[in-house]
């Protein structure tokens, strides 16, 4: 089982975390929503897997390229 780091696509703040640790994420589902410049951008896990870690919480600032979660594929 490989553990993959999910990175943020955009600089902004974490608005909502929509998955919990231990959840099985279906391919294409989102794990959290980042807000930036009045836009909401879902963070999508393309391949799916189990969410094993979250490096941010709601309200945190995130930078583009920053590791924000870990998925076990």
């Amino acid at each position: 089982m490989a553990v993959e780091q999910l990175k943020s696509d955009v600089t902004g703040s974490v608005w909502k975390i929509v998955a919990s640790i231990g959840d099985d994420i279906a391919p294409g589902d989102s794990i959290m929503i980042i807000e930036s410049m009045k836009m909401e951008i879902p963070v999508i896990c393309e391949e799916g897997g189990r969410l094993v870690a979250l490096h941010v919480k709601e309200g945190d600032s995130v930078a583009e390229g920053q590791n924000i979660a870990e998925i076990e594929i």
Binding site: V10, S36, M37, K38, I41
Partner: protein, 455 residues
């Protein structure tokens, strides 16, 4: 004894720059306000006074009413211009400004409230004979009722926030099985964006054009409708290119709408600037969308074709002048004007691109007008909307305007962040835009086609 007029501009960026310019031209003292992120903004030096109002997040600065009132007191400001966005369509705030004995540069709070509530605005539109599309009342909590209301409108439909505006928080629903999850999502977006979960449904117009009408009223009951703008070029329901006049629409249809709008607003006694937004469908029919009770980002294209200054007019009317003394009687559009909004976002996905501006060179030319609130070295942050600058051209014909706008966009050099300039140029050069065959899905069609071609 009345204090001399001094106006505080409760906003930032391009609109603050625009209003301060108008105040300087009118010889009225101005007060600018700025958050941490805007401390190096170029328009601050153009105002007579600049007051720090708090940390970058809007809630701590531009939406911080207490701080704004303190700034009014400290500077002896007698009036407040809210710009657009932020507090400009907050009727409670507008009333507070009035209760504090200040002038609010905008309509009476009752009109802000009436038009701010989208189903009330639709009811008003219907009552004065403006065309409206099929729409619902406010959605109840009952899922089954919501499903029935949707059935009577038909699919595809659109879920909209009743207290919303600006294209924010709207969701298209193609089929009934997607309805309830869309409604749930729309509720939370509405709550977050506008503080209210109230929603309504409207039937979806396919390939509509967004055609809006500029209105202006004074405090004495006079109303004029200053023709139209076409704002069909949008991404995520937000305008990115706007023009005056609307290409290819029979002028008699426009005239009929102008007259109907003037008649309707005269019954209210609407007393400032406003815009009546409509959809124009493929059968040549208009339908009322919403009315915005504020200055709009795209006001400049109307100013260019009519040779007037809407911001100066708005201020003069707020200070008690009569419309007939502020605007000439006979106005008719000359030539064509197009505005492009340069956004801090990439040209493929339109994702926000914050960062420090390492280069910021705006185009210069006889018929090029730029409005911006940024300069080189400033940080473009995540806290505000992505508008960097507006580039406006005015030419004798639409085709000359398009050519000039493309040239102006090519001359623009912004480095340090991504911009939508490449997408803007592509859209203007597209066959459909060039032939005036615009509709609200055109921008995304052009960009998505370009993305497909390049992969």
């Amino acid at each position: 004894m009345m204090k001399p007029t001094k106006i505080l501009v409760a906003n930032r960026s391009a609109v603050a720059s625009r209003v301060i310019r108008a105040l300087n031209e009118l010889g009225i003292p101005s007060v600018a306000v700025y958050s941490e992120a805007d401390k190096d903004a170029p328009y601050l030096n153009q105002a007579d006074d600049a007051i720090f109002i708090g940390e970058s997040p809007a809630a701590k600065s531009y939406l911080n009413e207490d701080t704004l009132f303190e700034a009014m007191t400290r500077t002896g400001a007698t009036a407040l211009h809210p710009g657009y966005g932020f507090l400009s369509e907050n009727p409670v705030f507008a009333q507070k400004v009035l209760d504090a004995g200040h002038v609010f540069v905008g309509p009476s709070p009752q009109w802000i409230e009436k038009m701010g509530h989208k189903t009330q605005a639709r009811d008003f539109a219907k009552s004065v004979g403006w065309p409206i599309g099929l729409g619902s009342e406010l959605l109840p909590d009952d899922d089954q009722l919501v499903i029935e209301m949707a059935r009577s409108i038909g699919y595809p439909l659109i879920v909209k926030p009743a207290e919303g505006g600006g294209g924010i928080g709207m969701l298209v629903v193609q089929t009934e099985d997607k309805l309830l999850s869309a409604v749930e999502r729309a509720r939370s977006m509405a709550k977050r964006g506008f503080g209210s979960e109230a929603l309504y449904l409207e039937s979806l117009c396919l390939k509509p054009r967004h055609v809006e009408f500029q209105v202006i009223g004074d405090k004495y009951g006079d109303i004029r409708v200053l023709f139209e703008r076409d704002c069909s070029i949008q991404r995520r329901h937000q305008k990115i290119i706007e023009e005056a006049i609307a290409p290819g629409i029979d002028r008699s249809l426009i005239q009929t709408q102008c007259e109907g709008i003037a008649r309707g607003l005269r019954t209210l006694g609407y007393d400032s600037l406003g815009t009546v937004e409509m959809l124009f469908d493929t059968t040549g029919n208009f339908r009322f969308l919403e009315m915005n009770t504020r200055l709009q980002v795209e006001h400049g294209v109307t100013e260019e074709v009519l040779g007037i200054d809407l911001v100066q007019s708005q201020i003069r009317i707020a200070l008690g002048e009569r419309l007939k003394d502020v605007l000439p009687d006979d106005l008719s559009p000359q030539g064509h004007s197009i505005q492009a909004r340069i956004y801090a976002e990439d040209s493929k996905r339109f994702y926000p691109s914050p960062g420090r501006l390492q280069a910021f060179e705006m185009p210069i030319g006889k018929n090029i007008r730029v409005e911006t609130g940024y300069c080189v070295g400033m940080e473009v942050t995540q806290y505000y909307d992505p508008l960097l600058a507006k580039v406006i051209v005015h030419a004798p014909s639409r085709s000359e305007a398009m050519t000039q706008l493309i040239t102006a966009l090519r001359q623009t050099r912004i480095e340090g962040i991504s911009t939508n300039i490449e997408a803007l140029i592509r859209i203007i050069q597209s066959e459909h835009f060039m032939s005036g065959n615009v509709h609200t899905g055109l921008a995304m069609e052009v960009v998505q086609e370009a993305n497909r071609m390049s992969t």
